[in-house]
Amino acid sequence: MNWLPVIGLLLGFALFYFMPLQLPSDYAPYLSLATLSGLDSILGGIRAGIEGKFHVDVFISGFIFNTLLAAMLAYLGDQIGVDLFLAAVVTLGGRMFLNLSLIRRYYLTQWTLSRQRDAERT
């Protein structure tokens, strides 16, 4: 099990949480959506890593582009009066569930296997 990403997350969170940085509340929905998209990208990256299909360029560009796209989509939706916000939330939400379940399954299998190995050893 690899804990480095989790530690990175906590570090980034702590760093910015205690910084006196604040966005105007008008941008809050876009920021939220960008955060959601970033979360999705991270989970997707972990999944790709587990499956051995990880490419750094795809991951980094995907993270940046998806984040900006999600925020821009929400902004566009606000401008033309359609809740495009929801489309992003549904898509990202669905994908996150899928990725999370795959990650969970992988580590669960690993854990079961290591337990079996331990049992065989003793």
Partner: protein, 265 residues
């Protein structure tokens, strides 16, 4: 957890380092997002509750309107009862006449008669770019309404109402955020001020050179319109009539007089 765990992770998996870097960015995003949401929650309403609150507000206004109608209906019935009781004796009739006169003066009875109607509304125009005139001048303010009402009374108006709110002795006209409250009821542009009195006199008072409307009309003539009316109906005051502090001064003879005698007691 020793350092070896991390290092072995990096060696085995090429994805760990980029994901960690991006997780750092995500953490930052999460932190800023969370902080922004917290500040929204502490200072204002979440935007997804606006529609529900707007509906509740409309409901309340509807109920308020119905309650006000009920009040005016009940007060009219009181007047009827007073008149019926007065027919019993000559004394009662005299008393009732005085009572009805007082109620009329207090604005507790709906009235009708000739007069004028002044419509004040926010200008649809905006000040031209680089203009020294402030945008504030394009909006009707509480002070505009106060000055018009004051001028109407000075010109002999006997009953005045703004958007159906009767002006009585204790009426306040004040600015509350984007709207103007009259009798504690929030009104918004256009403001229709109805006044019963001698139409020509009232009209003249409104159109005085350098008068109350001159400044407004200099900005935009559409902001103030005055029309003569043959018959205006002004509703009764429907607000509270409870006096908690002021009491009539009682004198030995029972007449209501100035305060000197009572303070000597």
């Amino acid at each position: 957890m020793n350092l070896n765990v991390f290092l072995s992770g990096i060696r085995n998996n090429p994805w760990v380092t980029p994901v960690t870097v991006m997780a750092l960015v995500l953490g930052a995003l999460l932190a800023v997002s969370l902080k922004t949401q917290q500040s929204i929650r502490s200072t204002s309403l979440p935007s997804n509750r606006f529609s529900g609150l707007a509906a509740a507000y409309r409901d309340q206004q509807e109920q308020l309107k119905m309650a006000n109608e009920e009040i005016s209906k009940l007060r009219e019935r009181t007047t009827q009862y007073e008149n019926e009781m007065a027919s019993a004796s000559e004394k009662a009739k005299l008393l009732n006449n005085a009572l009805q006169e007082a109620k009329f003066l207090a604005g507790l009875t709906p009235v009708e008669g000739p007069g004028i109607e002044v419509v004040l509304q926010d200008s649809k125009k905006r000040p031209p770019a680089n203009s020294p005139i402030d945008i504030e001048n394009y909006i009707i303010h509480d002070s505009d309404l106060q000055r018009v009402v004051n001028e109407l009374h000075a010109a002999g108006a006997e009953a005045v109402a703004i958007n159906g709110q009767r002006i009585i002795a204790t009426t306040a006209i004040r600015c509350v955020g984007p709207s103007i409250q009259v009798n504690g009821i929030a009104l918004s542009s256009p403001y229709v001020i109805q006044a019963i009195g001698a139409p020509e006199t009232l009209l003249g008072a409104m159109n005085l050179p350098q008068g109350v409307l001159a400044d407004i009309q200099a900005i935009d003539p559409n902001m103030a319109k005055v029309t003569k009316k043959n018959n205006i109906q002004i509703p009764a005051y429907t607000g509270s009539l409870v006096f908690r502090y002021a009491k009539p001064v009682a004198t030995a003879s029972g007449n209501v007089q100035g305060g000197e005698e009572s303070s000597a007691k």
